[in-house]
């Protein structure tokens, strides 16, 4: 794929990437791939010469992955409350702060660290983004064990981490606008694989219903089960179409307001609903872990049930996104900020 082509998803790329069923439907672990595409997009769009020369080829070779250093203990949905600061020192910046909920940070090669570079009258100005190589002195990455028992997120302590100034991504002080501009692509790439992946789970549940006996016949004959699975199939078809539509709008460069926010909420809530349905169908076997004696469908449903809880929180909570849909999409007045 040429560098130019990375900037916007084209129909052909979407198919290659799995929207048409490939990767997602095969249940491929999606991992940090979305972050790689977004970062490549940003570097091609407004990266320095050094970022283009050093980082882009690494991405192209499949050697670079990225974690996002956005959230902080006191800055979640209100990202602008973040306290991490980057202070200019000659041809370097010195970053000091504390990031949290950074996915894959322990196994990635770079962090995208969002930090305040100046105090400005406007609350949304004065932020900048830095591409910080893992292992830079002063960076301490600690795993956070999640409710699934696995490590997915990390917290990162940045104790006077020195970063060359030309590893800043985008113009100084305009980081928040760049972040906002990238949100549509972020939400799209972060969730586009979901409909085919969920359709795969649905097929497994259908198979389970067909092969499980309940009340003298297959579970599949239970009218309630039939209805819930069929309604879910319709929801997943709708979800897939909404992502196709969002992808086409992004491809065509049509300005978006609410489309990807809506698609993300829908994807995440539908995923939760499907996992809940799966747990219902599995009954007592539902909460068995992967690898447990007697576990059905490889214990994947219990895992999906737990991980789906995080999906309506990560990358913009369902509440924040609904507000976005209402304010940006429908033009409803924003709630006044508390003083």
């Amino acid at each position: 794929m040429l560098a130019q082509d990375l900037r916007r998803p084209r129909a052909a790329d979407l198919h290659e990437a799995g929207l048409d069923g490939g990767a997602g439907a095969a249940g491929a672990p999606f991992g940090p791939l979305a972050g790689v595409w977004q970062t490549a997009d940003a570097i091609i769009g407004f990266g320095t010469e050094r970022l283009r020369r050093e980082v882009l080829p690494e991405i192209a070779r499949g050697e670079a992955t990225f974690w996002q250093g956005y959230s902080e203990p006191d800055a979640g949905s209100d990202l602008l409350a973040l306290k991490t600061e980057a202070r200019r020192d000659g041809d370097h910046y010195v970053i000091r702060g504390h990031k949290i909920w950074s996915s894959h940070a322990g196994i990635s090669s770079y962090g995208l660290v969002f930090a305040r570079t100046s105090r400005e009258a406007r609350r949304s100005r004065g932020f900048s983004m830095f591409v910080v190589r893992n292992g830079t002195p002063g960076m301490d990455i600690r795993p956070i064990r999640s409710l699934t028992g696995e490590v997915y997120h990390h917290e990162v302590f940045l104790d006077d981490v020195r970063v060359p100034a030309d590893l800043m991504l985008g113009p100084e002080g305009e980081g928040f606008q760049a972040l906002l501009n990238g949100l549509d692509a972020d939400r799209f790439w972060g969730r586009f694989y979901k409909a085919p992946a969920l359709q795969r789970v649905l097929r497994q549940l259908v198979e389970h219903a067909n092969t499980t006996r309940a009340g003298g016949g297959p579970l599949a004959r239970d009218p309630g089960v039939r209805r819930r699975l069929a309604a879910m199939a319709a929801e997943l078809a709708a979800l897939r179409l909404l992502f196709y539509r969002a992808g086409c709008l992004i491809r065509d460069g049509v300005p978006l307001t609410y489309e990807t926010a809506m698609a993300k909420v829908y994807a995440d809530e539908t995923g939760q609903k499907l996992a809940r349905l799966g747990m219902d169908l599995l009954g007592l076997w539902g909460p068995l872990r992967d690898g447990s004696p007697g576990a059905k469908l490889g214990g994947r449903i219990s895992h999906a049930y737990l991980t789906s809880l995080g999906h309506t929180i990560a990358g913009g909570t369902a509440e924040v996104l609904r507000t976005t849909i209402a304010v940006r999409g429908l033009g409803l007045p924003a709630e006044p900020r508390a003083r």
Partner: protein, 370 residues
């Protein structure tokens, strides 16, 4: 894949929107819903002049040979305006059946006046079981012979000139086309919430000859699904249009109704409700267009139609119900437009197959053992 209407469909949409805004304001839709006949001859005449009743009819019979997708985008606008009347029954479903099963002579006789909007036809399918499944038809008829029995929930039978009646002939499905004024046919109006005109049609020894048969004896089974799918899609389009209208009303209200010193749309409780309505409308429309496109291209679309109909029935009804909650007390008034759209969506969700029928079709298609 493209998600936007073609240039000619965009013209159709904007023409329809302008026309309906002028000639079918909400007050007229309300008045017609309460009126026993509920049919505005002048309005029908005007939309006939635009060629809408002939949209599906081939040019040889006086129509414009449009696609089902063209019809769907038009009916969505009709649903948005709350246009009442026999368009779907006559110009979509009955017309589809005539195109697919009628003999050449019947088409020559029946299609031109239908395309011109001069005559109206409607399908009499449903019986005591309340099912739109053609397999549920039990009304027996010998041809030639006499027809005795009844059909239920026949739309716009009072203004229809012809009834297309599904019957069993030696156990197999046949379609009859009977003039509504034939002796022995009586039409009893049902009193509906929506103001849609539905009838119980009774046949009391009605004389039926071989000329009254539409197509060949016992051969109606293969033709019915496509026409019923067209009906289901058209009713889905009405629901999507009506839900879109409700969403617009709700958003306007949320921006202008001030409580506690600011517009209620500035409160998150209202914002989040509105955000859900957008999703319901957009997802319903996405399924509708995908199914209509497939059907228009002649691709197998049965499952897509069923998904769209079942999904939109649920989602658009939710839009109406939440709409009432956001509007508050004012929407409880008879003169407020919301309840009519709500009732229309409800009626449409049941027509040409309710969620149960369509979800069962989906259940089979996704491989659930029966």
């Amino acid at each position: 894949m493209d998600f936007r209407p073609s240039a000619s469909q965009q013209i159709l949409i904007s023409t329809a929107r302008t026309f309906l805004r002028q000639h079918c304001p909400p007050e007229l839709a309300q008045r017609l819903a309460l009126d026993a006949r509920g049919f505005d001859d002048a309005l029908w005449q005007r939309l006939a002049e635009l060629g809408w009743p002939g949209l599906l009819v081939p040019p040889d019979f006086g129509g414009s040979g449009g696609s089902l997708l063209d019809v769907i985008v038009l009916v969505e606008e009709m649903g948005r305006a709350g246009l009442p009347g026999p368009f779907v029954a006559s110009a979509v479903v009955a017309t589809s059946l005539l195109i697919s099963v009628a003999s050449a002579a019947q088409q020559k006789r029946l299609l031109p006046p239908l395309a011109a909007g001069e005559r109206l036809a409607t399908l009499a399918l449903v019986e005591e079981t309340g099912s739109f499944d053609p397999g549920a038809v039990a009304l027996d008829c010998r041809v030639p012979g006499r027809l005795t029995g009844r059909k239920l929930f026949v739309k716009d039978a009072h203004v229809a000139d012809e009834l297309i009646v599904a019957v069993r002939e030696r156990g197999e499905l046949s379609l009859l086309i009977l003039p509504t004024d034939r002796p022995g046919i009586t039409r009893v109006a049902l009193d509906t919430l929506s103001g849609e005109k539905l009838f119980e049609v009774a046949f009391d020894g009605v004389e039926v000859s071989a000329d009254d048969r539409l197509g060949a004896a016992g051969r109606a089974r293969p033709a019915l699904p496509a026409a019923l799918q067209a009906g289901a899609l058209a009713r889905t389009a009405e629901m999507v249009g009506a839900a879109q209208h409700v969403l617009e009303l709700v958003v306007e209200h949320a921006k202008t109704r001030v409580q506690g010193g600011r517009p209620i749309g500035g409160y998150q409780a209202i914002q989040h409700s509105c955000a859900d309505l957008v999703r319901h409308v957009d997802a319903s429309r996405a399924l509708l267009y995908a199914a209509a496109w497939k059907a228009s291209e002649g691709l197998p679309a049965e499952v897509d139609v069923s998904m769209a109909k079942a999904y939109a029935g649920e989602a658009c009804l939710e839009v109406a119900r939440r709409g009432h909650q956001i509007f508050g007390a004012i929407s409880y008034c008879a003169e407020h437009p919301l309840h009519l759209f709500h009732k229309r969506i409800h009626a449409a969700s049941l027509d040409f197959g309710d969620a149960q029928l369509h979800l069962e079709a989906v259940a089979g298609a996704i491989g659930l053992a029966s």
